[in-house]
């Protein structure tokens, strides 16, 4: 078995025991990336030299008997939506094609402090808007289980690089399911922490009240390692929670007794793939065999989740993305061409004696904004900016944004009531397995409906995990979602690890690249 086949937890033990070095690990992953990423396209940017230098430094420290951080030389892939000092951070958008942040996101800083080795930046839907990674301005990432299919999104690169054995750990972000859905599609484990658990400082904002950074790994145990390294209060993020961080990695292997699971009636309705339903019901039986009791319950407002989400998220996005105007940084339209265009228009209207058009002609500044943004953003981003601009406009605000905030509160109340009765909600992560590349690109609404089971968790600000629970007949991974009370990640991880000790779905690997 090659190095890249091991779990991160195992690798960390081997690193500590000096059975393997960080340099060897980086070389092994670099080799797989070189061999496979032409096909998977999970990475937007890699820097093996920098990774090797860092690995060497950590190995040296360990050899000298000096202290080494919690991640002790493990390579980590980072979604390209987190600022990395001196390393391009594009959000898979043309508008940030040359943006090199002068600072590290808090999570990146914490990873460095924990002695993780940054392998590279992973592909995603532009500004994390999408569920297939097809909205990247650069290239589409494929699903390692079937390269004609999408890896999910928006953290598609983050999930695909794990599934293909190109990284042992990966950082993603989840605004409406962007960690859990690609984890489900790629057969890996991914956790969306409670809002406020992980600092958002340095995470390029899509929808600030919904965005949360979280780990992806090959198991709950691996996720526990990574979450422990990145969680915690940050004085730079007013919305981060000032709560102690449990020792997730230590407790993850302890089983939970007397587990009470809630089966949400609304999650098993129309639109759910029958193979997924069967796999999820089978997973519930596994839990029952481990002593869990199961209770069926209702989340009456969950059906408004998609509508509510697609008002709140675009509203915030329209504001968050206003700063990309070509003035201070990032892409700017060709100024000379822009000025020539304006001059030509002016000449034309003058010749026509069209005073109305002349009076309405853009100033150069307005035209600079218009052209920069028209050229710099992709269609899905523009769609959401327009949606959000509309829902925040005078005369529409009350009917859309304000109403959505009220529904959001009702959705949270559904959760609060449910968690009075049960510890976790269990259900499918997605209604369907990974779809074909291009299958839904012309139908944004169908794409939005894929978020059915994931968005309510973000609206409620709670935590959840997706873990592999089987495969379709055609060999595509199926994800099981567990949702938890606020800041209950410690028990969530233990519940997931219990299942993973009883099953081996999470150990399955795609055949791509041959046996690891």
């Amino acid at each position: 078995m090659s190095l890249t086949a091991h779990s991160a937890a195992d690798l960390l033990r081997d690193l500590a025991a000096r059975k393997v070095s960080s340099v060897e690990l980086v070389n092994a992953y670099a080799e797989r990336i070189r061999r496979l990423d032409g096909q998977i396209k999970a990475f937007l940017h890699v820097d093996f030299d920098a990774a090797l230098a860092r690995a060497k430094e950590i190995d040296g420290r360990r050899a000298a008997g000096k202290p080494v951080g919690k991640l002790g030389g493990l390579p980590v892939a980072i979604k390209d939506v987190l600022c990395t000092q001196g390393i391009k951070t594009t959000c898979a958008s043309k508008i940030l094609q040359n943006f090199v942040p002068p600072y590290d996101a808090t999570v990146v800083r914490k990873l460095k402090e924990a002695d993780a080795v940054i392998l590279g930046k992973t592909n995603m839907d532009e500004f994390a808007m999408g569920g297939s990674t097809e909205n990247s301005a650069y290239f589409k990432t494929t699903n390692p289980w079937d390269t004609s299919r999408v890896p999910g999104g928006s953290s598609g690169g983050a999930a695909a690089c794990l599934a293909a054995g190109m990284a042992p750990l990966s950082i993603g972000t989840d605004t409406g399911g962007s960690i859990r859905q690609p984890a489900a599609f790629c057969g890996v484990t991914g956790i969306k922490p409670t809002y406020g658990r992980v600092s958002r400082y340095g995470l390029v904002a899509f929808a600030s009240s919904l965005d949360q950074i979280g780990p992806l790994g090959r198991s709950a145990e691996d996720c526990a390692l990574l979450l422990e390294a990145i969680a915690g209060h940050d004085p730079r993020d007013s919305t981060s929670a000032d709560l102690p961080v449990p020792e997730y990695a230590k407790s993850v292997s302890q089983p939970l007794a007397g587990l009470k699971l809630g089966l949400v009636r609304e999650y098993f309705g129309k639109g759910l793939d029958s193979e997924i339903e069967a796999a999820v019901r089978e997973a519930v039986k596994v839990y029952q065999s481990l002593g869990a009791t199961v209770k069926e319950l209702s989340m009456p407002h969950s059906k408004y989740g998609i509508a509510t989400y697609y008002i709140i998220a675009p509203s915030e996005a329209s504001s968050n993305l206003a700063r990309y105007d070509g003035v201070h940084y990032g892409y700017r339209t060709d100024e000379k061409a822009m000025l020539d265009e304006l001059a030509a228009e002016q000449k034309k209207y003058e010749a026509e004696n069209n005073t109305k058009k002349l009076a309405d002609l853009d100033t150069p500044l307005i035209r600079l904004y218009r052209k920069t943004r028209a050229e710099g953003f992709g269609p899905e981003v523009k769609r959401r900016i327009m949606l959000g601009t509309y829902t925040l406009s005078a005369g529409y605000y009350d009917a859309y944004y304000l109403k959505a905030l009220k529904v959001r509160r009702l959705i949270r109340q559904d959760y609060d009531r449910a968690f009075e009765e049960v510890d976790f909600l269990v259900g499918p992560t997605t209604p369907n397995p990974a779809f074909k590349l291009g299958e839904k690109t012309d139908d944004p609404l169908a794409m939005y409906l894929e978020d059915l089971y994931t968005v309510t968790l973000n609206l409620a600000g709670l935590g959840g995990i997706s873990l592999p629970c089987g495969f379709t007949k055609s060999g595509l991974p199926i994800g099981l979602q567990l949702q938890c009370r606020p800041f209950d990640e410690e028990r969530l991880l233990r519940a997931a690890a219990m299942y993973q000790r009883a099953t081996d779905w999470h150990t399955k690997r795609p055949t791509i690249g041959g046996k690891e």
Binding site: A207, S208, A322, A394
Partner: protein, 492 residues
Amino acid sequence: MPDQPYDLIVGLETHVQLLTQTKLFCGCSTKFGAAPNTQTCPVCIGLPGSLPVMNRKAFRLGLVAAIALNCEIPEFTKWDRKQYYYPDLPKGYQISQYDLPMSKSGWLEISDPKGRFATKKVGIIRAHLEEDAGKSLHDEAAGKADSRIDLNRTGTPLLEIVSAPDIRSTEETRAYLTELKLLLTYLNVSDCNMQEGSLRVDANVNIHIQTLQGKIATPIVEIKNLNSFRFIERALAYEAKRQYDVWQETGRKMGDPGTFKQTRGWDDAKGVTFSQREKEESSDYRYFPDPDLCPVITLAGDVREVRGSLAELPAAMRHRLEKSYGITPYDSDVIVAQGQPLVTYYEEVARIGGDGKKAANWVTQEVLRVLNEQAWSLEKFPLTAGALGELVKLVVAGEIEITRAKEVFNDMVAHKRSAAESMAALGIGKVDSSELEAICREIVAANPKIVADVKSGKQQAVGALVGQAKKKNPNANPNDVRRICLEIIERM
């Protein structure tokens, strides 16, 4: 303006920069005058991923000001994004407060010692916090029309204070702004330095015209960026007349179809306001709560604590000075308007000198004259309150007469001497009574004509002797000379 056929109606929006060391949502310095773009960080220049964190000191200064302006402080307040595009607004929105400001419904009392208007309370609709934008510098040299952006100011905390349209004249406008500035500087909330942009004023103005059909209001005009009190007075006076002329010409009043709130600027060189926004244009700022910031909760106990910590405010101080020292409202106004250091100085002079009115005269006339002439602040003034108090005490005791006391004062200022030292240097001392008697006898004897005049009932003729006595001894007290000479003539 009693002769005008209309009433001026003014409401003011005042922005003041708060006296914090750092910006509203990051740790950058707010110091004025640094090289462009040297006081910036990822947060205030709105780099992707950066997040704001509220400056608690700024919020407290806002509370202090709002409480001193008699505002209600709601328990819950929040931050909103005001969205518009401009190159000196790097995030594409300004963090401000929209529907739930940190304070509302207060008032500020204004009065005029010269009695041009009756003392009144100007309503404060609201006072809220927001971040400042950067500065755009338009360099049009060599026809390049380049614009440069300085983001040092971006994120500086501002308090926007919105008055009710309760102001009725340019005098009241000045009084309101003067009192507001004084209050905020006393509280150390802002330095209110207009040259550095720490205090900026927009005025909403229209006129109410009395017609046979009743009262008519003209459409409201907002005059932007009035950066000195003089500009404001001139702009308001101009604008009132302009609106009256436009009304006479067109008859258009507020609420007529096609009327709208116009934005105008003030051109001080030409002495006119000019239209800045021609078309009707409803600017939709798409306000919504900023999801990056938590709402702020202010409990009644917090308000009590801040109220308890407030120093004496200017209005209370004026009343106290008038009551304790028996000075006129005019004098108390002059003293308090100079700021806390002069009030302390005055009180010390009054205490040592033993006469509040005389102390007020010395401080408001002599001390302020020197400060003005020398362009000194009080710290630079060479006379301590104790030294001046000693001089006042001598005057009060009749040890020195007033014109000589002023000579002593000037000498004390020039040579940083005590009253006693200056008097010695100037040879000033009380003349011995037998010496004075001798001088008087001498001059009476030498002036038979004056003696005759006095004898014939023209008592004022003795005044001519005073000058002669002073020539013989400059310390001779005129009153004493007059009295002794009259006694001698009487006995003759």
